[in-house]
Symmetry: C2
Subunit: 128 residues, 2 copies
DNA sequence: CACACTGTATTAATACACTGGTACGGACGG
DNA sequence: CCGTCCGTACCAGTGTATTAATACAGTGTG
């Protein structure tokens, strides 16, 4: 569980943490039940305030990616519970549309766009 | 050129305008050389400040989507000039990665994710 | 030149995002 | 129990995003 943060990137720190945790989970580097570094530990490692880490964890919990137990620790959630597939698809569509529009704006062909997305999917770990 | 804006959506107005123009261009509803509504006209139609429209146009111009001529008007740019393909691909990758990660987080299969993106691309107008 | 239109620059009011300091309540091993 | 770890809540400060009011500058027409 190696995280790094760049405060001068413009992107808020808590979003950087969020993105990296999400990526690690999606890639299988973190699996259901795995413990995340504690709020204080990670904050100390990154030289930032515990609240900033807590905020990142809070939003990840809202999205169902992780589960925090007060006094216990924070763990990767198992995706079993949660939303109906229809709802998940509904949440995904705007993002899919954005990729389509941006890709076309960059004058990429339909095939290229699809291919790039598929490459990133493969990079996450091919199956499922 | 029909635009609508919802001030209470949380998403900044200038971003809503940006997204809709981008979508219209990507979908071919607006073509290279077409005139956009003037800053004041659109602002008046939407009951917002001209500066807000100007800001949306400004960023669209930075991205090369449109071209503004002071005193003249604002027009859809022809994508001919501009960035090298390598650069365009470089800009696209982070977005492709984000779709991949989010899609997986929503427990969609690789095929489903690719398919949803392709559907949005088709909805924009199939060729190229 | 006057005029009516264009986009642009400057400045300001306001709200909210972001981060941090600090204190609180629960879990767990001595 | 007590100390130490956990996540959490509250509050303040700083900066920046968002929108707007206003004035400026270029273009084209009669």
């Amino acid at each position: 569980m190696l995280l790094h943060v760049n405060p001068s990137t413009g992107l808020p720190i808590y979003l950087q943490i969020q993105a990296q945790v999400k990526h690690a989970v999606a890639a299988g580097a973190l699996r259901a039940g795995d413990a995340l570094p504690s709020v204080r530990k990670l904050a100390s490692d990154l030289r930032i305030n515990p609240n900033t880490v807590a905020r990142a964890y809070l939003e990840l919990e809202r999205e169902g990616v992780i589960a925090a137990v007060p006094g216990g620790g924070t763990f990767v959630a198992d995706g079993t519970s949660g939303l109906l597939k229809a709802e998940r698809v509904r949440r995904f569509r705007p993002l899919a549309r954005q990729v389509a529009v941006e890709g076309r704006q960059l004058r990429l062909s339909r095939d290229e766009i699809v291919q790039f997305v598929d490459e990133e999917l493969k990079a996450l770990g091919g199956k499922s």
